[in-house]
């Protein structure tokens, strides 16, 4: 039997398959057939300090092998999250990572401190400095190495828990941002967030999405995500959580070879919220059949052409 246990920072996960923020809600209130206990971790939908209602519709549209979304960080706000959702996690047989988004450095710190102030089952944070769908705080922060570094330095002061930084691909050189957040004390990097894209309806001459620009996800972005993960893996020594169009175990193996220690399943959850659990089983069978004792034997083992 293959060993799937995965270590990031001081935390041990039962496997390296996590759900990506925004594609699995808060992990509660899912259809009866979804078994979250099979997952390595759930990364929650982005939490902001104040509740947000999100962007007007249309918010999503399908594109070739992918989709565009601009939800606008709709969420219940940190206070209700603490009151109504965090207590539920006691009964969850998987690790919970809270994704935090914000408009200002101060607000990121406030959200993190609110959650730090209570005793909970939260094992860490994923800091979203890469949302393309809000006016402030998302991507503009994530494209600037110094701003990113300052934020992570500040957040690091307030938590001992796992601090993961989610990077945007909408930059000239992602390794600069990766190095900056590593130096600032991040425990891990997750990459990539969605790529800025756009659709146009030729019947109405309007953008396909209300906010014009939106985030592209799904298998269409997997080659870009793989390249970014590979580049980051050569630039930093902290673990990388690969994200971008993973829909089956073969895709997971690609990301592991490219240098990821774990992966997150995103768009595939929207087709089947059990996608992550199915991939865990597939990966297990593949590794067993390949007589690989521990999945980590694949991490970064890409064989480059001479």
């Amino acid at each position: 039997m293959t060993d799937l246990t995965c270590k990031i920072g001081s935390i041990e996960f039962k496997n390296p398959i996590f759900t990506a923020s925004g594609t699995f809600g808060y992990g509660n209130d899912l259809p009866e057939f979804v078994d979250v206990s099979k997952l390595g971790a759930i990364v929650t939908k982005s939490i902001t300090y104040e509740p947000r209602i999100g962007n007007p519709p249309p918010r999503i549209v399908e594109t070739p092998s992918g989709m565009l979304n601009s939800i606008g960080l709709a969420n219940i706000g940190v206070k209700r999250f603490i009151k109504d959702i965090i207590p539920i996690y006691k009964n969850f047989d998987t690790k919970i990572i809270v994704n935090i988004a914000s408009s200002t450095n101060n607000e990121y710190v406030k959200v993190l401190k609110e959650i730090e102030s209570i005793s909970s089952d939260i094992i860490g944070y994923e800091i979203n400095i890469s949302c393309p769908n809000v006016e402030h705080g998302g991507m503009e922060l994530g494209v600037d190495a110094e701003l990113s570094s300052n934020l992570i330095t500040e957040l690091r002061k307030h938590t001992e828990k796992l601090l993961i930084v989610k990077l945007t691909p909408n930059v000239t050189d992602i390794t600069k941002i990766a190095k900056a957040v590593e130096s600032a004390g991040a425990d891990a990097i997750s990459a990539i967030n969605t790529i800025v894209g756009m659709g146009i309806d030729i019947k109405t001459h309007k953008p396909a999405i209300y906010k014009t620009y939106a985030g592209l996800s799904g298998p269409a972005i997997k080659p870009i995500a793989l390249a970014m993960v590979h580049k980051i893996s050569k630039a930093v020594s902290i673990p990388i959580i690969g994200i971008g169009g993973i829909v089956n175990f073969e895709n997971v193996v690609e990301f592991l070879l490219a240098g990821a220690t774990a992966v997150q399943i995103g768009t595939a959850n929207l087709r089947n919220p059990n996608a992550g659990m199915i991939i865990v089983d597939e990966l297990n069978n593949y590794l067993d059949d390949s007589r690989i004792m521990h999945y980590s034997e694949l991490i970064g083992k890409l064989k480059l052409y001479e």
Binding site: P31, R59, A74, G218, L270
Partner: protein, 255 residues
């Protein structure tokens, strides 16, 4: 709600670009609550078209579930190629149902375009319960209709081009029908402009209505938050998959 690989019993064209598919799913039928609920269908297993298509349930008999769909893109075109004994990947049933207070209102059912699917479903429920009602079905042109225009049987058809039934939209039909009816309540499904027109008309006349709304949607289970629908009361949004698809007409805002 369940995901089921369902065996197709029948998949036939019933009008221009309009198809009916009947598939077998005891799992979905067991969980089915009534007219208004929908399923989300995956035409094939590849990832070129990642997202399921929401489609209203037109009928449930034992373990047989019917949907009526319009062909307007690659995915719906691909659906037409499926044959009986093929399998289709279906998530459902999703959402709430029409709530008919039979004892106090006279139901007028309105279906526009492919919105007639849940309306036909509702009409069958009313027939089964022995409740009298009037139905108005609108289409662009006669070839999109597969029912008979029959005012004597309280079934009115309208076409935008006048080639069948009443010339104009379902609004013209509704104006005719409303003259003879006391205490009406409208149950409507169709494209947003149609529902918006009905909403404006009924507001002036203070007639209650329930709408089953259509929306872009990715997951159908409430996690993607893609199917936002403006609330009338405040700046917030409903999710069509979780809070709908059926809403009281005065709860929602079209713009």
């Amino acid at each position: 709600m369940i995901i089921d690989k369902s065996e197709i019993i029948e998949n036939t064209q019933i009008a221009k670009d309009i198809w009916r598919m009947v598939f077998k799913s005891a799992e979905i039928a067991d969980r089915y609550l009534g007219a208004g609920q929908f399923v989300a269908v995956l035409a094939n297993d590849d990832w070129e078209h990642p997202i399921r298509r929401p489609m209203s349930i037109a009928n449930v008999t034992d373990d047989r579930i019917s949907i009526i769909y319009k062909v307007f893109g690659f995915v719906t075109e691909a659906l037409t190629n499926l044959k009986s004994e093929d399998y289709v990947n279906v998530l459902g049933p999703i959402g709430n149902t029409f709530n008919v207070k039979y004892e106090t209102f006279y139901p007028i059912l309105i279906g526009g375009g492919i919105g007639l699917s849940p309306i036909l479903n509702l009409s069958k429920c009313l027939v089964y319960k022995g409740i009298d009602f009037t139905m108005i079905i609108g289409a662009k042109t006669s070839t999109e209709h597969f029912l008979e225009h029959n005012p004597n049987e309280n079934l009115f058809l309208s076409t935008d081009d006048g080639t069948l039934g009443i010339k104009g939209t379902v609004i013209e039909g509704l104006n005719i029908v409303l003259k003879d009816i006391r205490n009406p309540k409208i149950f409507a499904c169709g494209p947003e402009p149609m529902l918006h027109s009905i909403q404006k008309m009924l507001e002036e006349k203070s007639i209650p209505a329930q709408f089953s709304v259509e929306s872009y949607m990715a997951c159908g289970v409430g996690i993607c938050q893609g199917c936002a629908m403006h609330k009338k009361q405040n700046d917030g949004y409903f999710l069509v998959c979780k809070d709908g698809p059926v809403f009281e007409a005065n709860e929602v805002r079209f713009d």
